[in-house]
């Protein structure tokens, strides 16, 4: 890994280590080294550098919601906004724990797209009606409830 003008440049080994960690972050340095054909000490040094430079932000656990008996309602909520208020609205949405992602899109109109999770459809509606709709600058809202998930990456960033 090299740094230039505050930017991080990864070499092939860094990228391979990230790929391995993305699949299983609990592997030991030795196991990663064996997979990649390098010494565990090399893996250790690389990972420490990646952590220090915040390329690796954190290690986390991915829960299996089905096993917990939790079948949440997921929805893509599109919020049409007054352009002057859109940043503020996006920031307020981003602070809520049940809002998983917040994106801003400028097509014909300025839109905020948020992925929202709720216990059920009624709680989803209540959140939208009582929290999102009253935010200053919200013009209208369209919601698509997700009925089937075909693909989801735990970590969406491609490394290679």
């Amino acid at each position: 890994m090299k740094m230039k003008d505050g930017k991080v440049f990864l070499d092939d080994l860094d990228k391979k280590i990230l790929e391995v960690l993305r699949d299983n972050a609990r592997l030991t340095y030795t196991e990663i080294g064996k997979k990649l054909g390098v010494a565990h000490s090399t893996v250790y040094e690389r990972i420490k550098k990646l952590e220090k430079n915040r390329v690796i932000k954190k290690y986390t656990a991915v829960f299996n919601a089905d096993k917990l008996g939790f079948k949440p309602t997921l929805a893509i909520v599109t919020v049409y906004t007054d352009p002057k208020e859109s940043e503020k609205i996006a920031e307020k949405l981003a602070k809520k724990r049940n809002v998983l992602e917040v994106l801003i899109s400028l097509s014909e109109e300025l839109l905020i797209i948020a992925k929202v999770i709720a216990e059920d459809q009624e709680k989803l509606h209540s959140f939208i009606a009582n929290y999102i709709a009253p935010l200053p600058g919200v013009l209208r809202i369209r919601t698509s409830i997700i009925t089937k998930k075909i693909k989801e990456l735990d970590s969406a960033l491609p490394v290679i």
Binding site: Q121, L124, I128, A129, P134, P136, L139, T143, I145
Partner: protein, 92 residues
């Protein structure tokens, strides 16, 4: 009335029309022109009754909304009945 207490018109779960009302008068104005789907959606969820009872504090009118709900009406007939019922209350 605070923004949080206004009535927000939706046409279905999560689909906000952009129309809201802060008073009974404003509510009735919106009833005249809002998408009929919105009236049907809210009436049969009991949202009108609840808002009129809990926010506006008009129990008599809330009860009337409950009665209208039981009639199972749809379309413009429903719109007219909600509007007329609310207007009558204002004039009494």
């Amino acid at each position: 009335m605070s923004k949080e207490k206004a009535f927000y018109f939706f046409t279905s779960i999560g689909n906000y029309t952009g129309e809201k009302a802060h008073s009974l008068e404003e509510f009735l104005e919106k009833v005249k022109e809002i998408d009929i789907k919105s009236l049907e959606f809210h009436l049969y969820r009991g949202d009108f009754e609840r808002w009129i009872r809990e926010v506006l504090g008009i129990r008599e009118l809330a009860e009337k909304m409950d009665e209208i709900q039981k009639l199972n009406l749809k379309g413009e007939t429903l719109r007219t009945l909600i509007y007329e019922t609310g207007s009558k209350f204002l004039k009494e």
